[in-house]
Symmetry: C2
Subunit: 212 residues, 2 copies
DNA sequence: TCTTGCGCTGAACACCGTTCAGTGAACACC
DNA sequence: GGTGTTCACTGAACGGTGTTCAGCGCAAGA
């Protein structure tokens, strides 16, 4: 597209290679955007490579020049999901000032995220353990799933105060996490069944875990 | 096989028709047994009709003379799973005598069941919402899933005492259920991640929900 | 202008769930 | 015993899936 790209290419300046890579990256993002939309509409399990390719006006085989396989697409979408979830958590924590209330706010936001983005949540935590494992296997410091986890632990540590050690904070954070996950995934697995509303179950669970 | 069956058949006594039906039922059970074994080994998602047919020495098409489709097999296996789960709950409740301790015991047993039969639990509560919905849509009085649900509610009602109304008991029962489900499904979704052991998380959750 | 490399396609492979015409044997009746 | 019917069962087929790959056309570089 850029007329000067040829001149740059002769000198093998990184910028030109990058332009090619950037174009490739743009297509990749376009594919991912389409995949995300399709997942939100019908769930990731209903997303087929062929339908995805049709949506972005490519042949099915071409998708494999951008992603190793279908699971790789799932993992990328998971990363987007974790990032979105982290944003919800941070926003939830910011609604309060006292440590205990911050943990409460973040926990409630976790549940709200799950109910607001059901198919995303399902992909992240319910579809295939391998996706979540893959993210934590890398264990990059800055991946949003790890940051969300550690945000909860920090909030839990602040809630417990200075006299509590880290394992206690981990225990409290994971307790909140598991409680919210239970309410969310139960609601997603069987929408009509738990009679009590998620909000009330959330309140009851956090009351139990957070009251001293 | 029975030499006298022909004589009975002439008179169309129900017993003969039943013998055919019984044979059919036996084959059905044989298929279900194989399906259950395969599910426990590799999970239900990895179970294909063709592999199942090979395992029971039939052609794939023949399976469809015993089950409407693959989902119907899933639903039957779910029913078996609910029955097994109910047995665990009852056994867990029976380990104590006081109402609160009974609810605790049943809840803990729920979690133990999930961890002891991971693929069964995954099928029941995590794979496809439609399976659980289908069971509750029928709403037969004696189906094991409903009985398990109502067992928890009864135990919760007993725990709260006479002054509590039914919605309160439902709330407590569902809180316990959601809490245990959260711990179980998180453990199954990401085995390596929650650092705190399920037992400790279970204790913390029930302490919070059950202490007055 | 020729060559190289890259993006892309279409066909193919091996699966999948599901359907269905056809087969052979067991049964019911004359 | 002969004959028609029912029944369990098979094998092939259809349309779908994920994935691979030879080959094609075009743009870039020599």
């Amino acid at each position: 597209m850029d007329g000067k790209s040829a001149g740059q290419a002769t000198k093998k300046i990184p910028g030109v290679l990058t332009e090619r890579q950037e174009e490739k990256e743009r297509v990749r993002e376009r594919i991912l955007d389409a995949a995300q939309k399709m997942m939100i509409e019908d769930g990731f399990r209903a997303l087929s490579i062929r339908k995805l390719a049709t949506r972005v006006q490519y042949s099915a085989g071409n998708i494999y020049l951008y992603f190793e396989n279908r699971d790789a697409i799932a993992r990328e979408l998971c990363l987007r999901g974790y990032a979105e979830m982290l944003a919800w958590l941070e926003k939830g924590a910011a609604t309060a000032s006292k440590p205990g209330a911050k943990l409460r706010g973040a926990s409630a936001a976790y549940l709200q995220f799950a109910l607001a983005r059901p198919e995303m949540y399902r992909l992240i935590y319910m579809d295939d353990p391998a996706y979540l494992e893959a993210v934590f296997a890398e264990r990059r410091e800055d991946d949003p799933a790890t940051r969300a986890y550690e945000l909860l632990i920090d909030l839990a540590a602040a809630t417990l105060g200075a006299q509590a050690d880290r394992p206690q904070a981990v225990k409290l954070a994971e307790s909140c996490w598991a409680a919210m996950h239970g309410i969310a995934s139960l609601k997603l697995s069987c929408p009509t069944f738990p009679r009590t509303s998620p909000e009330i179950l959330c309140e009851a669970a956090l009351d139990g875990l957070l009251k001293k």
